[in-house]
Symmetry: C2
Subunit: 375 residues, 2 copies
Amino acid sequence: MLPDDTRVVSVDDHVVEHARVWLDRLPLRSREAAPQIERGAGGRDTWVFEGEPVSDFGLDVVAGKDPREFGIGPVGFGDMRPGCYDPAARLADMDAEGVWAQMCFPTFGGTAGTTFARARDKQLAADCVRAYNDFVLDEWCDYAPDRQIPLVLVPFWDVPAAVAEVERTAALGARSVSLLEAPHRLGLPSYHSDHWDPLLRACEEAQLPVSMHFVSSGAPQGVAPDADAFVSIALFGVNSVMACVDLLMSPVFHRFPGLRVVLSQAGIGWIPYVLERTDYSWERHRFWCDVDAERRPSELFRDHVYGCFTSDHAGIAQRHAIGVEQILFSSDYPHPDSNWPHTRKVLAEQLDDVPDAEARSIAEGNARRLFRFPA
Amino acid sequence: MLPDDTRVVSVDDHVVEHARVWLDRLPLRSREAAPQIERGAGGRDTWVFEGEPVSDFGLDVVAGKDPREFGIGPVGFGDMRPGCYDPAARLADMDAEGVWAQMCFPTFGGTAGTTFARARDKQLAADCVRAYNDFVLDEWCDYAPDRQIPLVLVPFWDVPAAVAEVERTAALGARSVSLLEAPHRLGLPSYHSDHWDPLLRACEEAQLPVSMHFVSSGAPQGVAPDADAFVSIALFGVNSVMACVDLLMSPVFHRFPGLRVVLSQAGIGWIPYVLERTDYSWERHRFWCDVDAERRPSELFRDHVYGCFTSDHAGIAQRHAIGVEQILFSSDYPHPDSNWPHTRKVLAEQLDDVPDAEARSIAEGNARRLFRFPA
């Protein structure tokens, strides 16, 4: 059972960047092209970047709404809970849902910064990443440093610059780096190459676990084009399955024994099956494939990978096959998977039959230890 | 525990078509273009179709080999167990592994007949499908009708012809129809359309469960291009996950209440997680998406879908969340996943802690009931 004095730590939530995040921080020369909000009719807000409309709100900010309203969705700042973008209101919403601390991914920026990667002006893009990180460190998390865990982005399209940003933000208190789950899907080298080694080494040396949010490199591929959107949504975890197997079969964990990877919002119920299947394939195919034949994929998982769930009875039932110490909780505020304001209640129900010490590890201790939080 | 008198039924194995399957059955005008074996140096055999080399053997026929030999792989009929293609030798190999009955998919033809779909001459392609089915019904299964369950192909690129082939083969004793898990990946309409309705209706009316073999529509999409082959192999089940969710969110089971689908070789350990996640998405998104809001995806699964495993401790541990009656066994002879000749031993070890009646259902009874076998 979840002990009453557990201070729940969620490792996957989302901050909605307010309208002045970039306008206030970018160099003067970049102000015109900077991400900024264009107010339209009917309270509609649209992000404009490099002079082009880029994204609206909608399903990203539905916390507290009835699912019957999801189709219409909030269209602007005036139609979402202030907790989406205001740090004080966020704390109040966390109190209401029974979550003590959380780690937030960007909204406009994309969970791993892909919005910036698509910019024509790569210097502007790198400036935007730095401005976002400064916002997270100096404003969003600084408001309540004991309740917000700083997650930073990197300009992943430029490895030396990304290394520098890891080092810069680590010195400022960053606790995790958001990286793509499948860089090859953006036309970049995969984790099987040595392209990412300097960046992964920087994360390892700074003791910053890497968070790979599902769908950070795009939605699942191969879904029927005429399937409704929620077929893809239900399948988002498939991306994490693929990222997990890809990493376990890559040289990454052999090269960086101190590296830790969190599969953010991935769900956990699939992990025992996937580890068993991957070990099974490794046993049969490791001789003709170029893979490390010394360590089983499931051993690499145990030493390097963390799962993350919101509602996953199948995963909790299998927690010993996953590794109790490797399970983290995700509230996912203010996204549709969120159970706000019933977050703690829904979590506690799942942990009802779990011994107190294990429940406490899953809901709080594992995240605190992994992210060294608070410092 | 698996009772000693259980006659294990495997619902996913593979027959290697012998060299004269099509030469003996195709109309005279088609003989030259028919699939035929070209014998090369060093015992190498290559399938030639429409005058073009199409495929070699290799990993498809490794039963009994040490994994250390997988890289080289059998190159021709002379280098594989006769049980691959000879019905009498197959029975002997089944006796050796402790499997009483099995259902075989094609090898050269592709698990759902995709090799024929790629032919330039679509009449030839349809003739090839018919010849394959006649081979399965009159030769392969007829040799031991109490031990081989006939699975047939259809010319899926032509729905009326496919309907006719279902009706023709049902009358001849077919027990299952192999269909694509993701037709949209071959440029055909998806299961969300009404394109397949006549074919699905024909299967329903003939009481023929549909078998969807993983990777029948191609390997998982989105794998790193420089990942070793076995990353993809370890991820084959992802295709079944996607097919499962796709079907549960489609109109298929609402339109055809008598239709049954087997996810062949899919593994089962992922099922509870996937059903929970799909229900969760359905609860939140069914109002704005065009989906049947009356029945939960997990209910549709319970009434329509069957899983299939070879080695899956995670799945057996979760058998009640899956549905004991919906679990089928796969030996996968002569593929690399096979445990031949230790098949029954490996199965029995997995069922060691399972009550006898449940073990018997999983290893034998469910398949007999689903496929009405023997008649």
